[in-house]
Symmetry: C2
Subunit: 151 residues, 2 copies
DNA sequence: TCAAGCTTGATGCATTTGCATCTATCCGCT
DNA sequence: AGCGGATAGATGCAAATGCATCAAGCTTGA
């Protein structure tokens, strides 16, 4: 197996990406903590479940959407359920599985998190780049995604 | 305190940034694990110490450079020292402090990690965007950085 | 039909992280 | 000199994560 060297441009872009993404996450997490709200991961799950509607989602469907390992989803859902933000329903045609649905209080929590999360996004991204630049950034990032996106 | 809403462009760019950065980190960590190498955080510290040269760095200087909390640095250095990759020296003019210096075996480890890390960057960034695009990406990300960069 | 193997989700155990706090030293001020 | 507060670094304890494995249910094929 031959190892390749990255170009200087690739290294610079990588370093910026790593540093910036961690800074943004950290600041947002700090804002959430300061408001007594749960971490970002909770929002991701509540968001996906809210979008899924009454039908809910199977835990394994959440794995790819929130980029967590199977056990990560399992335990995060357990915490959300313990807090009454989601509920687990047995699924008729598969005795192993369950369907997870967001509860009213889960929807409420999602809104409360978004008030802070959204403000953080507005401050950290919206205030620093124009709409055109944001689209360009999203486009470039889309090409790094797996699977790559070409919009 | 009035909460603001982010623009759709900002939300899209944010979502892409979050997802892509996590995917890239995950793939790179997987590659390191597959080679029996330590995680990315180890590289960051070894890299900073290698750049610092024989003079080494004080632990508190690493905090901002590697974006870790104070206790994170303290414990990561303890692990690196236990593995013989760095050494801690008392510092003459401050009895509280210490200077951390990379060892030859630390330099070697840094090289071994880079062989995999660099290849990962080349594959995940270099292969997907042109040099021009990488520069543009770095420029946009630089504006999101704290403190913002205007190069 | 039923054994072999796959999928879904949970969990025991070790490592890592986060938070709060601690010790030791240093600095500034009176 | 000596007190009060700040700074450097470590650490006890709780929570979260990673890894391996498990149990239960499903599917396939001889």
């Amino acid at each position: 197996m031959t190892k390749r060297s990255p170009s200087p441009e690739a290294v610079t872009a990588w370093a910026r990406l790593m540093r910036v993404s961690r800074q943004l996450v950290e600041k947002t997490e700090d804002a959430l903590k300061a408001s007594g709200l749960p971490p970002l991961g909770w929002y991701d799950v509540l968001h996906e479940l809210a979008e899924a509607g009454e039908g809910g989602l199977r835990p394994f469907e959440l794995i790819d959407r929130v980029l967590l390992a199977q056990y990560g989803v399992s335990r995060l859902l357990a915490r959300l359920e313990a807090d009454g933000l989601v509920e687990k329903l047995p699924v008729s045609d598969d005795g192993r599985g369950q369907t997870v649905r967001i509860t009213p209080s889960g929807r409420d929590m999602r809104r409360r998190i978004w008030a802070v999360y959204g403000a953080s996004i507005a401050e950290l991204m919206g205030d620093r780049l124009s709409a055109k630049e944001l689209e360009m950034l999203a486009g470039l990032l889309g090409r790094l995604r797996d699977p790559p996106v070409t919009d």
